[in-house]
């Protein structure tokens, strides 16, 4: 494992009732944002829980910040800032009292940092947490997670159910954190717009990591194309992830777009007229098989 590799997952598997998580390999380098995308129940929370030792997987080796999670989960949690999907607090306490409970567990805890985040997130530290809105609770969880200056921040659906203003604030804060190149963030979400800040995207579906790539390359390779059939072609279906022919015109989606792929398509007797990038939402839908062009055509009809 290189010094800059802060996450290394090998052969992770875990079963929860009928759900089975299986991730053969997942790595991440320091200074980047990894966005985990997937529908509800895809395995995002289980994966993140396993990274901080809150889920004990049946098999596999997980190393976080150079520490084996199986035997050093407490040390991992000490060095990682973790914001769970449902941040739980003692509702009768206020933010200051909660911070007083947490501070002794983190060697890098800074009250100054806490104050800075409480002010920035406009959190009234004297009010009991039971009076907080959902957005306030998420902001408090984030402020507490950031107050011990973690090298790695892991956020499980932090923006779910938040209003756009708070979401922007949370996402902006995360984006700012990795600018120095020393911090890293893993963020799971099913809201694809939140993952615009992610350098890498991992797509989970039914417990499988079906895609893990650089976001720029992902957008480069995943394209929606349309055009016309020039001559009677050999079956071009194999060149596309999803393909539909309608008389002399066709439409298709590929995850292999390149100049080489273009020439293969042209050799197959197709002329590309329009080539468009896919949104993350569309990539998720096509990658998980939730959408294909035949269905689109039926919907239009």
């Amino acid at each position: 494992m290189s010094n800059d590799q802060i996450i290394r997952v090998v052969g992770l598997s875990h079963r929860l009732g009928r759900f089975e998580l299986a991730i053969p390999e997942l790595t991440m380098e320091r200074g980047y944002v990894l966005g985990l995308l997937g529908r509800n129940g895809a395995g995002k929370s289980t994966t993140l829980g396993a990274l901080v030792g809150l889920i004990k997987p049946a098999a596999g080796d997980i190393t976080v910040l150079g520490l084996p999670v199986r035997s050093a989960a407490v040390e991992v949690r000490r060095r990682v800032g973790f914001v769970p999907e449902q941040a739980a607090f003692y509702d009768g306490l206020n933010a200051t009292q909660t911070a007083a409970i947490l501070a002794p567990f983190y060697p890098g805890w800074s009250d100054k940092l806490l104050q800075r985040y409480l002010t920035r997130f406009e959190i009234d530290a004297k009010q009991p947490i039971r009076s907080y809105s959902k957005g306030m609770r998420v902001k408090l969880a984030l402020a507490l997670a950031l107050s011990h200056a973690p090298e790695l921040l892991i956020l499980d659906e932090p923006t779910a159910g938040l209003d756009p203003v708070v979401r922007q604030m949370v996402v902006g804060e995360i984006a700012g954190l990795v600018k120095d190149g020393r911090h890293s963030v893993i963020i799971s979400s099913h809201i694809t717009s939140d993952l615009a800040i992610a350098d890498y995207i991992g797509i989970l579906d039914a417990g499988r990591l079906i895609l893990h790539d650089d976001q720029e390359q992902l957008r480069e390779r995943w394209r929606k194309v349309s055009g016309a059939t020039v001559h009677a072609p050999s079956d071009p279906t194999g060149l596309f992830l999803s393909y539909r022919r309608d008389g002399a015109s066709f439409a298709g989606v590929t995850d292999h777009y390149s100049t080489e792929w273009r020439s293969q398509v042209e050799q197959a007797g197709l002329r590309l007229d329009v080539v468009a990038q896919l949104t993350l939402d569309e990539i998720l839908a096509y990658a998980t098989g939730q959408r294909n062009l035949s269905d689109d055509a039926r919907e239009v009809a």
Binding site: G49, L54, I55, K56, V74, V76, F82, A88, Y90, D91
Partner: protein, 211 residues
């Protein structure tokens, strides 16, 4: 805690006005039950609050090992049990007209009993969850009682009258220095066993298990 304090103090005040000795024994018994009451109910109450409020997730997410989390919870329970015992002691002192020595002597065995119950119950709460722990505890206590009764009944010349006499004799012995020491050792073993069992269970489980 407040309710128990009020009931204890009210019982103590009633005791000061009672002349009937048999009735007084009954009222005094209520006060001496306070430590055992806390030993029986504190772990389940504490676990129920964590599970209902979802705060067990907060504890789980802490960078803390099972020994720290369990010790903190057990420490808090012991503090409340201690406070309850002080209230009971005050109640007995009021009832006895201020005799600290007599009140301490009366309360020492119930406190030891409460400590043993607390340790046992704590381990059971971690093992079976707070809903089933009380049932498991009742089953254990009933089994012990039935085993003892059967042993007496089967013993040569045994019978229910002998059993009552034996129980009375046991209570007299338990209040002697040697008896109290023996009971304290048993309670400490129960506390230690409950503590160690709880830590092992906590460390072996993950966030998919509530407390």
């Amino acid at each position: 805690m407040l309710v128990v304090t009020l009931i204890t103090l009210a019982t103590a005040l009633v005791l000061t006005a009672i002349e009937d000795q048999d009735l007084a024994i009954g009222y005094r018994f209520i006060i001496t039950l306070v430590p055992a009451y806390f030993g029986l109910t504190l772990p389940a109450m504490s676990f129920r609050n964590e599970n209902r409020g979802g705060t067990w997730r907060f504890l789980r997410a802490l960078p803390a090992s099972g020994s720290i989390v369990v010790s903190a919870k057990a420490g808090a329970a012991l503090l409340v049990l201690g406070a309850g015992s002080v209230v009971a002691l005050a109640g007995l002192m009021i009832a006895n007209g201020g005799s600290t020595i007599q009140a301490t002597r009366t309360l020492s065995l119930p406190v030891v009993f409460g400590l043993g119950l607390l340790g046992l119950n704590f381990g059971l709460c971690f093992r079976f969850g707070e809903r089933h722990a009380s049932l498991a505890l009742l089953v254990i206590l009933a089994t012990l009682q039935i085993t003892g009764m059967v042993q007496f009944a089967l013993a040569p010349g045994g019978g229910i009258r002998d059993l009552i006499t034996a129980v009375e004799q046991w209570f007299e012995w338990a209040q002697t220095p040697m008896g109290l020491l023996t009971c304290s050792c048993v309670a400490m073993v129960a506390l230690a066993a409950g503590w160690i069992l709880s830590i092992r269970i906590y460390d072996a489980r993950d966030i998919t298990h509530p407390m």
